[in-house]
């Protein structure tokens, strides 16, 4: 008998807008000491599946409509909350996505880690605390005795996630539900956390249900994989089966559309190249395979590029010399003593016209600040930025206006960077007005329509507001906004980081296509090394404000010179066998 048996689980959300089948007839099982990965894009129902088992969903609107979840012979669905509580945190524990918000900021670490023992076992406070500290050491928290008495905000993201894991395993549970436990973390930290989880599985014999959107992570940690799409399981099997021999078109698409460090496509395949969806009258969706999937893929492969045999001399568009950005804090009247944080430290870069420079680094390394400093959206304290032969630092606002037209930026979060109170038309026309493009309303409108068409949307969207669009569509609008003034140079600041892989592939393809059509130059900022590899001609690796390594993309990836680059590359979870 397996440890956990989920059979025909159905969880629906009943709202005024109608019923959403978040989890629709899902069945799978987990054996003792097994790691099962649940993969899917946002909204596929993977988290809801997890939460349904422990009754952690807000009810209403959520309701488990049917099915059963058997844990060690006991039915969990319909179990009274008081009995369920005895299982939560004792036999089944959870680790959540965001370690920043999932620990109680008002309580000391030790109180939180020891709490499950005090709730579920007849242990004294001293016993509970010493066991908590022991577990914290096991997950790799150094000086656990001292650090245990500090508060969550005094820990880094990776350390907090270790605290979460220690807290969930301190009662020796049989099953750990890990809901996107490494999504909010840098790759090197993620690699370490995955390692810890694997070690603990061997040490403590805990089974893990590992929910993630990242195929690479799943390949790395799981024994078996369950792939979910729109509330249903589309395929499940061992990791090898799924990755080497996927049978469902969605899974094929998902695997193909993710750029890996070895991708050779010029244009990424998308899920739509494989999957045909048909919405049925009763609200469900049927999924089918495109008959022409193979031909589509073959066509993409034909476009595989070979490096230009002759290197043409390239014209430099942007040259950054010795650039520095310092942040000052404190130093107020009787306030904190002044502190200086060096965000960007003596950076030198060049970007040739029509090429893409990829800028990678972990969170807090200064890559976003550097991008903004180049556009003069951020005050610099030293160095120069030469654009097309002209020094930008020190230009007046009026002189800078010309360059604002030529240099644009696409921001990370398409939800936050579009004004929610402006229609798409207003958003797109504003830059035209600022830069006096188009003679009259009609001309500007035509231009906006052609822009929308260029990014794959249409004139019918003009009068809508941002909240009416999906994340991918919004990012297309952001791209259109940046391109409205016909810039030559675009900073893409983590512009696909918030997206599912299938949407990411579409946006990356769009950026590539536009670059070819308009001879654009990109500064492509990302923490995702595979995406940067796919996009870039040159690569700069950044660490703590400095450029660690700068060179041709292929050379940097194939033969990294600095230890840090090597560490980053090794930390990327790979989905190949």
């Amino acid at each position: 008998m397996s440890l956990l048996d989920v059979k025909n689980l159905k969880t629906y959300f009943h709202t005024r807008a109608g019923t959403t089948r978040a989890v629709d007839d899902v069945s799978f099982s987990i054996d003792k000491k097994e790691i099962v990965g649940v993969v899917g894009e946002s909204g596929s129902g993977k988290s809801v599946t997890c939460h349904s088992m422990l009754g952690l969903l807000p009810q209403p609107p959520a309701k488990v409509e049917g099915g059963s979840v058997t844990f060690d012979g006991q039915e969990l669905i319909g179990l009274p909350t008081s009995l369920l509580r005895a299982i939560r945190g004792k036999r089944i524990s959870m680790v959540f996505q965001d370690p920043m918000s999932c620990l109680n900021p008002y309580l000391r670490i030790i109180d939180q880690v020891a709490e499950p023992i005090l709730i579920h076992e007849n242990a004294s406070l001293e016993q509970a605390e010493s066991r908590a500290i022991e577990m914290m050491k096991k997950v790799g928290i150094r000086d656990a005795e001292q650090r245990a008495h500090s508060y969550p905000h005094e820990f880094s993201g990776g350390m907090r996630q270790r605290v979460m894991i220690a807290m969930s395993l301190v009662t020796n549970p049989d099953l750990l539900l890990a809901d996107e436990p490494t999504t909010a973390l840098d790759v090197t930290v993620q690699a370490r956390i995955l390692e810890i989880l694997r070690e603990l599985r061997d040490d403590l014999g805990v089974a893990v249900l590992f929910v993630t959107h990242d195929l690479g992570v799943v390949a790395n940690i799981a024994d078996r994989v369950v792939v979910m799409y729109k509330g249903k399981i589309v395929e499940q099997g061992t990791v090898c089966d799924i990755f080497q021999n996927p049978s469902h078109p969605y899974v094929k698409g998902l695997l193909a559309c993710r750029p890996s460090l070895d991708t050779k496509y010029r244009i990424l395949p998308t899920v739509d190249d494989f999957l045909k969806t048909e919405d049925q009258a009763d609200g469900s969706t049927t999924l089918g395979e495109r008959p022409d999937a193979m031909e589509r893929l073959a066509k993409l492969q034909e476009e595989e590029i070979l490096d230009d045999p002759v290197e043409k001399p390239l014209e430099t568009l942007l040259e950054v010399n010795d650039l520095g950005v310092h942040f000052h804090s404190g130093g107020g009247f009787l306030g904190k003593p002044p502190e200086t944080v060096i965000a960007v430290d003596k950076v030198n870069l060049t970007i040739p016209k029509g090429k893409t420079l990829g800028l990678v680094g972990e969170s807090g390394c200064g890559k976003t600040t550097l991008g903004r400093a180049i556009l003069r959206l951020q005050q610099t304290c030293r160095g120069s930025v030469q654009y097309d032969g002209r020094e930008l630092i020190g230009l007046t606002q009026a002189d800078m206006l010309e360059y604002r037209k030529r240099m644009q930026i696409i921001f990370q979060d398409p939800y936050a960077s579009l004004n929610p109170r402006q229609t798409i038309e207003q958003t797109l026309i504003e830059p035209l007005l600022v830069h006096k493009i188009g003679a009259n309303r009609g001309q500007r409108r035509d231009r906006v329509v052609s822009l929308l068409e260029e990014v794959g949307l249409g004139a019918e969207f003009l009068l809508r507001y941002p909240h009416e669009f999906s994340g991918g569509q919004r990012q297309r609008i952001s791209v259109a906004r940046a391109l409205a003034v016909e810039p030559e140079f675009v900073v893409c600041d983590e512009c696909v980081s918030a997206m599912d892989v299938s949407v990411q592939a579409q946006v990356l393809n769009l950026l590539r296509e536009l670059q070819g059509k308009r001879n654009l130059t990109y500064l492509f900022i990302s923490h995702d090394l595979s995406v940067v590899k796919f996009m870039s001609d040159d690569i700069a690796v950044m660490k703590q404000g400095r450029i660690e390594e700068f060179g041709k993309a292929n050379e940097v990836y194939e033969n990294p010179q600095s230890d840090y680059t090597r560490e980053l590359l090794e930390a990327v979870p790979r989905a190949d066998f």
Binding site: L56, I87, R88, M94, N104, P105, I119, H153, K336
Partner: protein, 309 residues
Amino acid sequence: MFRFLIGRLFQGMLVLLALYTITFFLAKAMPGEPFTSEKNVSAETKANIRKLYGLDQPLWKQYFVYPKNIITEGSFGISTSKGRPVGDIILQSFPNSLLLGLCSLAFAIAIGVPIGVLSAVRKNSWVDWTCMAIAMIGICVPSFTIGPLLQIYAAAHIPGLKVAGWGNLQDVLLPAFTLGLVSAAYLARLTRGGILEVLSQDFVRTARAKGVSPTKVILKHTLRGGLLPAVAYLGPAFAALISGSFIVETIFQVPGMGQHFVNAATTRDEFLLLGLSLFFGFLIVVMNLLADLLTGFLDPRVRLAGETE
């Protein structure tokens, strides 16, 4: 911590200086002077009285003399309407207001916080709606309505409780209830909002996933953060409560400080007005400081300005 206190002391002095300046010039801008309404007094006597109180000096001199006297002699001037030192008037009436204020505060916390917690826990149920409706009434109905209603009720149903007057300890009950009702209502609403805000956060779900019981989720994981808005409100509210209320004091005949605020303004008693304003300002500064210290104690993420890691 020490740096923080020094800094705040400095800020407090600046606040009091600004308060003094504004009050001083506003008082001077009022039509008339302390003795203009005195009839049947010869011009010579009037001039003598004005000289006695220093009102014949040029404006800028008067502006500097008052603070100088506070610092050098500890004197807040002589009340022109009562003929007594302003300091004495405050010292005599403040203890009564303080007692009344403390009782009404205790009452407000004892009623407001539990109601707020209850409302939050039973969000969108009839319990919540009833509690919030009562709180809304508490905010809307003025004390000059509640006070007399309470008096009528007490006179008819509670033998041995005086409806007005000041002398026994039990005399504080009715005015404290009347005075504290509005604060209790505000506290209930702020506590409810604060708790709901915290309940929606991820770490509460973590606690539930650990198997923490619903009671403990509230008491251990939520209350501390949920009380922060209420604490921020309590600082200035407390200062207002202990500095007296004209209406409540009048209804229940409490010899508190509130009456002097109104009298000082109507009799153009400049020195009493200045003294009371500065005293009230001082209370506000101190109570806000206490509220900030309490916030720092409740929320470990708050580092008071001047503290280093």
